[in-house]
Symmetry: C2
DNA sequence: ATGACTTTGTGAACGCTTGCACAAAGTCGC
DNA sequence: GCGACTTTGTGCAAGCGTTCACAAAGTCAT
């Protein structure tokens, strides 16, 4: 068994990105009353290969039983701990447009490791109103007399996002989830993840176009040169 | 110069994922009246290294001028063509909850390669109502008498997502953007991209926790660094 | 207790992605 | 026209992530 300090430092980024997937599948299994599961089945439900699942899990220790599989509850607890979901992270949503309100109304936060503790907007018409039981405040209010937050969610229009990010960083936020299109410039040590509708659609469009072109042109070159190793 | 058939087959997936980033930066530059830009500057605005930008662009041909840089308008047009944005892809949004309505109201679709041509829900209270100028229909309506769609956006609750996906595939949709949590099971040849709020937050939480643990366990790297440097 | 069977955990090979170093190809001042 | 300078495009090496193959370690029937 690997020492904890080494193992924790060594979880690859790609694995971290899949742990939430596994956790969700395990939660569903738990709700269905299933107490034990093999890697093959869990991988299938998560949309990955079983070898990848096992390698991923090997990075956080050996929690499986050979010949049997994994204890659903135990594994879920281990992943939750690895992801830091044993505590509740305070979240602020900045930007009370349609998307910001939709996120505020989304129930998937509380009880799953996150709690919305503040809502922010700069429109005087919106500031002071109640949204989902929380009173909307300005960024200045948040910095001066608001609760401390660990994670900032930006749902403002694109031009405001950079300034908002700077303000959040100044008040100590080091994890930002950005729904505004475009790249945010932040100091080292601040973690930004971007969720961009346009980007995702454009990637889909690329593949859609490639499919159409492949059908319409019947290009034999693609079969010959490109690696055709697919099941 | 490489023949088009080979070059098109050879664009790596990682590059495709960054092309929208470059395109956005170029659009912004164009709006600012800038007509030419070097890879160093464009990379900086896109949040990537200049060598990576150049290698990415090399996969779609040589559109730069050595000693000068890239023509903003020309490069934007080339990327747009590569991504298949010269035509308008018809999009359907399934699920008229808060998120679905927010996306329907989002202006970033039309004029940028996508147009929402149908809105779908299964709630009798919602079907038939007007949302953003479109009349909400059922999936059955869409299949029977709706417009053809190329891309389906799923914003339903999680339990309905799998069934919706199957219906979309059955009516010929091969590109799906899924906002519902969980993994969708689709036939080969169908492209699913998942956008999951919980996953993104959990990844942030992982890094946030790792930072806190690093500080509390006396890591000299993290101490006394009050990051004040920002552009 | 034992042998057949199941499933995990992991070293090794493979492929994809990124970063480096540098030649190629252009511009610009004079 | 020419040399100095700038910037692109790319072969190559290093690093990372995924997949394969298989030993290790357990269960279960008898």
């Amino acid at each position: 068994m690997v020492p904890e300090s080494i193992r924790r430092a060594g979880v690859p980024e790609a694995t971290v990105g899949r742990l939430p997937l596994y956790l969700r599948a395990l939660t569903t299994l738990h709700d269905q009353g299933i107490t034990s599961i093999a890697s093959e089945e869990l991988a299938s439900r998560s949309g990955v290969r079983s070898t990848q699942l096992r390698k991923d899990l090997s990075h956080l220790g050996s929690y499986g039983v050979r010949g049997v599989g994994y204890d659903v509850e135990l594994l879920a607890a281990q992943i939750a701990q690895e992801l830091g979901l044993t505590q509740e992270w305070p979240v602020v949503i900045v930007g009370m447009g349609n998307l910001g309100r939709a996120l505020a109304a989304y129930g998937g936060f509380s009880g799953r490791g996150f709690r919305i503790v503040a809502l922010v907007d700069d429109d005087p018409e919106v500031v002071g109103t109640l949204v989902e039981g929380l009173r909307v405040m300005t960024l200045a209010d948040l910095a001066a007399k608001g609760p401390t937050v660990a994670i900032g969610v930006i749902t403002t229009p694109a031009p405001a996002a950079q300034t908002v990010a700077q303000n959040l960083v100044r008040m100590g936020v080091r994890s930002i989830l950005n729904f505004a299109p475009g790249h945010l410039n932040v100091p080292d040590g601040v973690d930004v993840r971007g969720v961009d509708l346009a980007t995702e659609l454009q990637i889909l469009a690329f593949h859609e176009q490639r499919r159409l072109l492949a059908v319409s042109t019947h290009d034999p070159l693609q079969e010959g040169t490109d690696s055709e190793a697919m099941g």
